[in-house]
């Protein structure tokens, strides 16, 4: 479960996130949309503990991320748009390293990594150096390492970038399954199709504020046109105008 209360984040004079409040319950697949520089990534960075909020608070599974960051991070996983990987390690070595940092037993690491690696077709790359892998393959390695410890909250920033249609499908399926099992999924994306297809609820951010939050149907009800694209454009462009 993610609870965001009155979150504000300023960069000098610029207010990137402006007093947003949001609760994403356990097991929900939440997709956040918004134009460039809307404040999505900043919100995610505050949630994942990479920066302090100017004001407000974020709780992960009831744990305040600023007061008790370590406990919060134990329960979550975060995959940025360009994830960091140790380039001279092999994917297997990287999985073992991240698994051990999360306190996983060797047998559990092996078991979880094998299952996930198979689903993401990583078998042939497991013993190859990460530096030689394509961007999409690296993205899959990062996702597997994040999912291994079965996080209660999974935050992804533009996860589909670099993934081919097949592996984008695999990722969507896994995220849906995990959400059904109780994992909270928080995805930031520009791909409206992902939101339409996958999201239980959608949030639209613009100029640091949450312009709208609701299920696809609820958002449709606020707009004459049923398309998410029209809703998105009307919310973000009206505000600009």
């Amino acid at each position: 479960m993610i609870e965001i209360e009155g979150l504000t984040k300023c960069f000098g004079d610029l207010t990137a996130v402006d007093n947003i409040s949001l609760t994403v319950p356990k097991g929900e697949f939440f997709v956040i949309l918004g134009p460039n520089a809307a404040g999505k990534t900043t919100t995610i960075k505050v949630m994942s503990g990479l920066m302090k909020a100017t004001s407000g608070r974020v709780r992960i599974c009831g744990i305040d991320t600023e007061a008790n960051p370590l406990e919060a991070r134990k329960r979550m996983a975060y995959v940025p748009d360009f994830p960091f990987l140790y380039d001279k390690l092999t994917p297997t070595e990287f999985f073992r390293f991240t698994g051990q940092l999360f306190g996983m037993e060797e047998a559990a690491i092996q078991c979880e990594a094998e299952v996930l690696a198979e689903r993401f077709s990583l078998g042939e790359f497991l013993s190859k150096s990460i530096e030689g892998l394509s961007h999409g393959t690296k993205q899959r390695v990062a996702i597997v390492s994040a999912l291994m410890h079965a996080p209660e909250v999974f935050v992804l920033d533009e996860p589909m970038v670099g993934l081919d249609p097949h592996h984008a499908r695999v990722l969507k399926d896994i995220l849906r399954e995990r959400a059904d099992e109780g994992m909270t999924v928080f995805v930031s994306t520009h791909q409206l199709s992902v939101a339409e297809e996958m999201a239980d609820r959608i949030g639209i951010m613009n100029h640091g504020k949450l312009a709208a939050v609701g299920s696809h149907e609820e958002l449709q009800a606020t707009n004459r046109d049923n398309k998410l694209e029209s809703i998105f454009l009307s919310l973000t462009q009206n505000a600009d105008g």
């Binding site: 990479l50 302090k52 370590l70 940025p80 960091f84 940092l101």
Partner: protein, 573 residues
């Protein structure tokens, strides 16, 4: 997941980084055996040559009864005092990059790794990166000190322990300074503060390095008094609260056989290292995260916003800034080349690490020139004036080579993933390369010619020889820049964004080695065929020397530049 079992963060981080570095090393050796051989040769050659020179020098100094041991002891105190200062500076720069600009740091902060563990790991890593080269450089001197004094075998065991304890202190202090800089200063504020510090250091050095008036009578009758006055300027190294004082005292006492004294200073050092090390390891994680958050939260304006005139949104953002207006003065140059140069200057200006290193180099150069002013007063023999003037040419050229290797060589590589922007533009990669060459030559030639002209004036050299040295270094500027740009294009590294790491590859090492060989060879040639120096050569020999110098300079510059242009024509990124 076993919640009760403690996670061995340190072991995991050390393990993963050890594997990474070992594989990097293996790959580097397997990719270029020549590079590995050159590096090995340099390491062994330096250690051997430096030890030989230091040993001879110390033996010579110790042969002066009474005075020798005093000078050598003071040299040891000065060595560690300056080592402390250099380690501190180096640790500030490397910690800043490692704590706030490093992708691994950001990655670890998203994992359940405590802030204090990330901080501890990063200052450990920075400490090693900041210290190893300095320790390698001074090791031959310390060993020569031991052999000159017939130190017992255990001196060579105690010294590494003292040095290992010692390097922790500048490491910790440097990391705290980096935290403070990151927390309170944005880029522009840092640049202004750094410039003020450099000016302050230059002013302090110029007032500190006042010449001592020593008459022949004083030298004959009051030697000890004169020595005492000369050594007064180095007395700061005897300040008992300096960690360098504890190391120097411990080691010099050990050589003298005063084991209890060494034991005392060893315990002083150990207690401080443990105290500061403990605070850094356990209490600084929170400060680190606050500083990191401040860096990540920094906006474009802030307290220094008033400096940033011309910035703004919409049309205001397109208003030409100072640099754009300056570039228009060069109306006769092509617009695309001017745009490339303006981009390069801006990139350099906005990279704090590059700036910091340039300022340190500039500060050292100014200190060097100020020293020359007083040095020349003591030179009475023509031989020494001649020798110093050629050594000065060599020193200035070596400085130039450091600049070209460090800042010019990585230019093409730094275009990196952005190379398509200039590569696809109508100006073409050939002109990109030539523009970078001409611009870097113009800048470095101006700086070096001023430097040589000023230093020759300080040495009170005649005007015709000032012109001779200035023209010589001007030719060397062309060659060294062409060599750096050419080899930078032949051996690009588009994966790396850190210029220091680009330089440490094969191409950078080759560039540095060739530059140094060229300088040593040409300065020797010029000195041997000089019309004035060392008895004077014939006019024929003088002109033959010049023709050879120009020929070698042309070939060493033109061949790599041509190879670089050809490489650019077939570049695949």
């Amino acid at each position: 997941m076993d919640e009760s079992r403690p996670i061995p963060y340190w072991r995991l981080l050390a393990g993963v980084n050890r594997t990474q570095n070992w594989r990097r090393l293996k790959l580097a050796v397997s990719q270029s055996r020549l590079h590995a051989f050159l590096m090995g040769l340099f390491v062994v050659g330096y250690a051997w040559l430096a030890f030989g020179l230091f040993h001879k020098g110390l033996q010579f100094t110790s042969s002066f009864p009474g005075l020798g041991p005093v000078l050598i002891e003071r040299m040891m105190f000065l060595l560690f005092a300056f080592l402390f200062l250099l380690l501190l500076l180096s640790n500030v720069i490397i910690n800043f990059t490692n704590l706030f600009r490093n992708r691994e740091t950001h990655f670890l902060l998203t994992l359940p790794v405590p802030h204090k563990v990330v901080y501890r790991w990063k200052i450990f890593e920075s400490g090693i990166l900041a210290s190893w080269a300095f320790l390698f450089l001074i090791a031959p001197l310390v060993i020569a000190y031991g052999t000159t004094h017939n130190a017992p075998w255990h001196f060579y065991l105690v010294t590494p322990v003292f040095v290992a304890l010692f390097v922790v202190l500048p490491g910790v202090l440097g990391s705290w300074a980096a935290l403070g800089l990151a927390r309170w200063l944005d880029r522009l504020a840092f640049q202004i503060a750094a410039m003020l510090v450099v000016v302050l250091v230059i002013v302090s050095i110029s007032s500190w390095l006042q010449p001592e008036t020593v008459t022949d009578e004083m030298l004959e009758t009051r030697v000890l008094d004169v020595v005492d006055r000369l050594l007064a300027r180095t007395r700061f190294s005897l300040f008992p609260y300096l960690p360098s004082f504890w190391v120097s005292s411990g080691l010099t006492l050990w050589v003298e056989g005063a084991v209890m004294g060494t034991f005392f200073f060893g315990l002083v050092l150990l207690s401080h290292t443990l105290f500061f090390g403990y605070i850094a390891a356990t209490k600084s994680g929170g400060l680190f995260f606050a500083s990191l958050s401040a860096v990540n939260s920094r906006g474009g304006g802030g307290a220094w916003g008033f400096w940033k005139r011309g910035s703004g949104a919409g049309q205001a953002a397109f208003q030409p800034k100072l640099l754009d207006r300056l570039a228009k003065w060069f109306w006769w140059g092509r617009a695309d080349s001017r745009a490339l140069i303006v981009k390069d200057i801006r990139t350099f200006w906005r990279d704090t690490t590059q700036w910091g290193q340039s300022l340190i180099l500039l500060g050292l150069l100014v200190a060097y020139i100020m020293n020359l002013r007083y040095f020349s007063h003591r030179l009475t023999s023509d031989f020494w004036i001649d020798l110093t003037s050629y050594l000065n040419l060599g020193a200035c050229a070596l400085n130039l080579a450091t600049l070209t290797t460090r800042f010019v060589f990585p230019q093409i590589s730094l275009e990196g993933k952005r190379v398509w922007i200039v590569g696809m533009a109508p100006l073409g990669m050939r002109r990109v390369l030539l523009t970078k060459f001409l611009f870097s030559t113009a800048v470095s030639m101006t700086v070096t010619m001023i430097l040589v002209g000023t230093s020759c004036t300080m040495l009170s050299v005649s005007i015709d020889r000032i012109i001779y040295f200035t023209v010589t270094v001007g030719v060397m500027s062309f060659t060294l820049n062409a060599l750096a740009v050419g080899l930078g294009a032949v051996y690009p590294n588009f994966r790396e964004e850190n210029p220091s790491k680009i330089v440490s590859g094969f191409g950078g090492t080759l560039c540095l080695v060739l530059s140094f060989l060229y300088i040593v060879g040409m300065v020797t040639l010029m000195a041997m065929t000089s019309r004035w120096a060392f008895g004077g050569s014939s006019t024929m020999a003088f002109w033959a020397g010049w023709v050879l110098f120009l020929g070698v300079s042309f070939l060493l510059g033109w061949l790599p530049l041509r190879a670089g242009i050809r490489r650019m024509a077939t570049l695949e990124v």
